[in-house]
């Protein structure tokens, strides 16, 4: 038995790769203003170029070529009261940040000739990501100060309408990503500031969908996006005082992230020609996210005198679902569409894994928006989503096997989306 001097850097990196305030976990489901205004209940219609995300089969029922571009502004607000481990209700507000993940879709659908029913497209969007930042000196600084995760999915997509009733589509997902994290290491005086930065190796995944229109006013959609396993390579810097520098050399680190598989099943009904109603059920296989392992290239296991050590943080997220209800009402002869929607998002984070990196809770989404065809070939869509994140109280300190930030987590988020679609 070698006795080695180890600082058990518990939660050294915590849940490095998480984020907050949009979809449960670190998922983001807002990828187009038209869909967002209808609470993302869109898989059974997918009748704009964001079909590349929502249901690639939908591309086949567009007409001609489109370019759709836009962004979603996300402004989360989170407050933590605690830690109750300290018998305290001290109020800590997460730094206010605004994120603006962009999206871009380019599609072409052949409506006659040999290629009739075929559609090709390419899209770029961000199904996972974003971040949280707490004040540098806040009570949970040893757990997290800041985290930011970004992913970009580039999705070349092909779709084919077998008949007017049924279409199928499939896309490749080429995933680019980056992550950064900062937290305090408080074992010693002075306190160290650990920074991790990493870039994901390009990962490849896929998605597929089917759209079925059995009658004029009923449409069914099913779409599936496979799990993406991303390997990050990066560097760690503890910013140690000089006398601790040899113990905390930082250096190369690797970690991995499992972006879970997700599926949508939707049904849309048009009671009249100018009204669409849609209900979608989304399943997310968060149980893929079991743990977060951070490996230091130089660690206590392979280098004498080094205190930094690999960390495995258990997540054990649970499979979960989101129910989505959306409606669109097109005013005849005006080129104006009014939209609204509601979703309920069941968060995947068990109490034992709840932490201020990702202060997650069940949430209600209230959505509203409109679309205007303000030129014959140009459509402007805007959407607003107010997310009510339910209060969540955790009391895990008495539970074995974890180090917890017990307290009351509250939050909400406002999201604004804008897209312009140009029909060529």
């Amino acid at each position: 038995m070698r006795r080695r001097f180890l600082i058990p850097v518990v939660l050294l990196c915590g849940a490095v790769l998480s984020t907050s305030a949009h979809g449960g976990g670190f998922q983001l489901n807002e990828h187009g203003a038209r869909a967002m205004a209808q609470a993302g209940a869109f898989a059974a219609r997918a009748n704009d170029p964001s079909a590349i995300f929502f249901n690639p089969a939908g591309l086949s029922y567009l007409r001609g070529a489109h370019i759709m571009a836009g962004a979603t502004l996300i402004a989360p607000v989170n407050t933590y009261y605690g830690p109750t481990n300290l018998n305290s209700n001290e109020k800590w507000e997460m730094d206010k940040q605004v994120f603006s993940p962009p999206n871009l879709y380019i599609t072409n659908t052949w409506t006659d000739g040999m290629l009739k029913g075929l559609a090709l497209g390419i899209g770029v969007t961000t199904p996972f990501g974003l971040g949280t930042r707490w004040p540098d000196q806040w009570v949970g600084r040893a757990v997290t100060r800041e985290i930011e995760l970004q992913t970009f999915y580039v999705m070349p997509t092909i779709s084919y309408a077998l008949t007017d009733m049924i279409a199928v589509g499939v896309g490749a997902n080429v995933v680019f990503s980056s992550v950064s994290l900062r937290r305090a290491v408080t074992n010693f005086d002075p306190v160290m500031d650990l920074e991790l930065e990493g870039t994901g190796e390009v990962a490849v995944s896929w998605n597929a969908g089917v759209l079925f229109r059995p009658t004029e006013d009923i449409s069914l959609g099913f779409t599936y996006r496979a799990q993406t396993d991303i390997d990050f390579e990066g560097t760690a810097d503890f910013h140690p005082p000089s006398t601790l520098a040899p113990m905390f050399p930082g250096g190369d680190v690797t970690t991995g992230l499992n972006a879970p598989a997700t599926w949508f099943a939707g049904i849309a009904w048009s009671p009249t020609e100018n009204i669409d109603l849609e209900f979608d059920f989304q399943g997310i296989q968060w149980s893929a996210y079991k743990e977060l392992a951070i490996d230091f290239a130089t660690d206590a296991g392979n280098t004498p005198g080094v205190a930094q050590n690999d960390v495995v943080s258990v997540k054990d997220y649970e499979d979960t679902w989101i129910a989505r209800l959306g409606a669109e009402y097109r005013l005849r002869g005006t080129g104006l569409a009014l939209r609204a929607g509601y979703f309920y998002d069941n968060n995947p984070v068990p109490d034992k894994s709840l932490e201020p990196l990702l202060p997650d809770a069940d949430r209600h989404g209230l959505n509203i928006g409109l679309g205007i065809d303000f030129l014959p070939s140009v459509t402007l869509d805007v959407a607003y989503l107010h997310m009510i994140i339910l209060d969540r109280v955790t009391d895990q300190t008495s539970q074995p096997g974890g180090v917890y930030m017990d307290g009351l987590y509250t939050g909400s988020a406002n999201l604004f989306a804008l897209n312009i679609t140009y029909a060529l």
């Binding site: 070698r2 006795r3 001097f5 040893a142 074992n187 004498p304 974890g402």
Partner: protein
């Protein structure tokens, strides 16, 4: 458009309604309940004094658990006998952690308190080295200081005529509203930390004095007398008494392993040899404890062969540990029983620290353990608490106060307390021959006892 207008109104109203929902915070407002924090006095030993890393010094005393507790309670004018750096004792300094822990000392120093003329007793009456009898002992502190080579009686009690002859007399002089009493540790640690070679017993009946833990009967008499006196002299004071922790909850007894890897083939574990009190040489077994002070001997190769065993004072063997644990269990029975008799709040520090030993102490996203240095709770001498360890103990007292007095006092956030001071140098020493991973400076087993 009115139809859509209505929809919008409904939507806006829903938002407002939800936004107006109040937030229920999980912890009630802070409050003191039935506790009057005006004057707090602490009676105890080195653990109460804020002794750390082998010395009593100002920077450590700032984080004594009574001082932290006084701040948490909002007590006024909590005075301690602050000793300028490097204080009194032999302060340990972390020189390097690489490639092995190397701890240096500032040498033996004695520094008078900075406030020796305070015209009243100190609120912190923690006297390093004090045994339970000292609580009621009215004998000359000068005589005690000389007899035990312990300067702290003089430094802290100062003037028995003016401030009171015993520790309890001095406490009563301050008319405390809150009193903590944590004594008795040295009645067993004197024996335990010297590998069973020294003690605090009075002796008699064929048993020589100063060779064993204080006799249970003597301990019981001291506690009965002390608690009765506290009740009589300070009838309205809120009193909390803590019991004696298990020594195996400190790294002093648990850091050095019982076997060591063979330097030429680390897969083979080598026995450690020691001489027991009867002069027989044996190997360290799974119920024996090699003391932290043995590090340096082992480093020299002493203890690694039958011909050169560790001297008996470096090992608390199974038989000796049984004596220690038996004494603690009897002491703690008396403390509990007498606390109940007098209506004092009993703080089960023994169970608490054993729980920390087993499960760690998790607080607000961080975990502390009883491991040496890395655990964060113990100072460099391995037996006294670090600043954060003191905060853990203060939090235990707060927990008991909250429970007993209907108070709702906030705990102390450990990351507001400084961690271990980073090493003073970058490691230059050679790789440890035996891969002990730990080194300890020249030890003074004979003076250690005087310094608790």
């Amino acid at each position: 458009m009115t139809y859509h207008g209505n929809l919008l109104w409904l939507f806006a109203a829903t938002l407002l309604l939800i936004g107006a929902c109040s937030e229920d915070t999980p912890v009630g407002d802070p409050g003191l309940g039935g506790l009057d924090p005006t004057t707090y006095v602490a009676i105890g030993n080195s653990l109460t004094a804020g002794y750390q890393s082998g010395a009593l010094f100002q920077e450590g005393q700032a984080f004594s658990f009574p001082n932290l507790l006084a701040q948490a309670l909002g007590s006024t004018d909590f005075q301690q006998p602050l000793m300028p750096y490097p204080g009194t004792g032999e302060l340990r300094v972390l020189e390097t952690l690489i490639p092995a822990v190397r701890i240096g000392t500032m040498g033996q120093t004695q520094n008078l308190p900075t406030n020796p003329l305070l015209a009243r007793p100190y609120n912190n009456l923690g006297i390093p080295g004090a045994i339970v009898w000292d609580a009621i002992d009215t004998s000359s502190i000068l005589a005690r200081a000389q007899q035990r080579s312990n300067p702290f009686y003089m430094f802290i009690m100062r003037d028995q005529g003016m401030f009171g002859a015993s520790m309890i007399d001095q406490a009563a002089k301050l008319n405390p509203t809150v009193l903590t009493f944590w004594l008795g540790n040295n009645d067993v640690l004197g024996y335990a930390t010297t590998g069973g070679t020294m003690g605090t017993n009075l002796g008699g009946g064929g048993i020589p004095p100063r060779t064993l833990p204080t006799e249970s009967a003597v301990f019981e008499l001291a506690i009965r007398t002390a608690f009765a006196k506290i009740k009589a002299d300070m009838p309205n004071t809120k009193v909390l008494v803590a019991n004696i922790p298990d020594p195996t909850a400190t790294p002093f007894f648990t850091t050095v392993p019982r076997t060591l890897p063979n330097p030429t083939n680390p897969a083979i574990m080598m026995n450690i040899y020691y001489k027991n009190k009867e002069g027989q040489t044996g190997t360290v077994g799974e119920n024996d404890f090699v003391l932290l002070t043995a590090q340096q001997k082992l480093q020299l190769g002493i203890g690694l062969s039958r011909d050169y065993p560790l001297p008996t004072e470096y090992v608390l063997d199974n038989a000796e540990m049984s004596i220690v644990l038996q004494a603690i269990s009897e002491y703690n029975r008396v403390i509990l029983e007498q606390a109940e008799v007098h209506g004092f709040v009993h703080v089960d520090m023994n169970a608490f620290l054993n729980d920390v030993k087993t499960n760690g102490y998790d607080i607000a996203g961080e975990r502390y353990t009883t491991a040496f240095i890395s655990g964060g709770m113990f100072s460099l001498d391995g037996i006294h608490l670090s600043a954060r360890g003191n905060a853990v103990v203060a939090n235990k007292f707060i927990e008991e106060m909250n429970r007993a007095y209907g108070a709702n006092i906030r705990y102390i956030g450990l990351n507001t307390i400084p961690g271990m001071t980073a090493p003073t140098t970058i490691g230059t020493s050679k790789k440890s021959l035996w891969s002990l991973g730990l080194q300890f400076p020249v030890e003074h087993p004979n003076t250690l006892i005087g310094l608790y």
